[in-house]
Symmetry: C2
Subunit: 199 residues, 2 copies
């Protein structure tokens, strides 16, 4: 039959390219966006353009922000001797949610992954090194995800930073709180063993 | 802590209002839309505005279309004596996919639902009655969903159309093909019994 409404089809295709959206969800979203009242559609579009126009990287920590420097770098109450290095701005939000950390951050925007052609030059490594020059920072916490690329990136950076006489630490990986030893996968359990602490 | 990036937060909230998108998916989508290359973002926005600007209701069948009348109404090979009445433009696509139907459609854009304050005036009922005036249509197939509102709408319309000497039929509802009697819910099974056919 091949009957379709071309602009609707195009919108559906665009939505289908978003992460986690399949063919059926895309069609459902397309109809929703089509039937949205004009006012809501305007707000939606504005939110999208606004976010894309206003958000940029903080010149200090490379986290995303809509102000000149990000509110975390600008906050004088934060401990300037510790920098937590993460892959992604979402990781900053995750660490902030714990309420346990009061230092600064550095967002790499990715991991070193030779398989995908991403070397240190594609990450914000230069920016990190520049920050460490004035010797206020005493500890750098590597908070990469426990993946092959994350581990490799942490190792690479730690080798780069150690000659600068900076303490380099890595987040502890192990059994999640509330998790069950019996059901933990072997890699998590090995990491948990390796990282054991004296009581 | 309350640390957040306002424009990103706003975009996330907008995405969260879409059907089937929860808080975490919305955050993920917001980051994806933020990191999208400029070209892709433009295509995405264009697809959205385009769909909203160009798509309107067909003046004959009230289906969505981007041409003057919809391609189904405009297709001279289709049987003009039968009209299939559906709730939603998506239902037209569903019936078209069967490849079994060669008549025309009429899209009501909803169901009668006194609970939600939707009466026949909010639906395209007047438009349907106007189409039936010239007496080419001999059969109207009610293809509403088998819900309370769908049933009620079908019943309401059939009472309206019968005095016009038009055959009014309703889709058969019953056990889906490949389904199992044992696992069918009782309402489906009752409908399937009621609608039994002679062999």
């Amino acid at each position: 039959m091949g009957y379709s409404i071309v602009p609707l089809e195009r919108l559906t295709e665009q939505l289908e390219r978003l992460p986690g959206i399949g063919r059926k969800s895309a069609a459902r979203l397309a109809f929703h966006l089509l039937y949205m009242p004009e006012k809501d559609a305007k707000t939606f579009m504005e939110a999208l353009t606004d976010a894309r126009d206003k958000i940029h990287e903080c010149p200090v920590c490379c986290n995303l922000t809509d102000s000149a420097t990000c509110p975390l770098c600008g906050d004088s109450r934060r401990d300037r001797t510790t920098v937590c290095v993460v892959e992604d701005p979402r990781d900053v939000l995750a660490v902030e949610r714990t309420g346990e950390y009061n230092g600064l951050y550095h967002v790499l925007h990715g991991t070193i992954s030779p398989m995908d052609g991403r070397g240190p030059d594609q990450l914000r490594v230069k920016e990190l090194l520049r920050r460490l020059e004035d010797e206020t920072v005493q500890e750098v916490i590597m908070a990469q995800n426990p993946t092959v690329e994350g581990d490799y990136t942490a190792l690479y950076l730690s080798r780069l930073l150690k000659p600068l006489n900076i303490k380099v630490t890595r987040l502890a990986y192990g059994i999640p709180v509330g998790g069950d030893l019996e059901y933990a996968d072997e890699i998590t359990l090995s990491r948990s063993l390796e990282g054991r602490n004296e009581l």
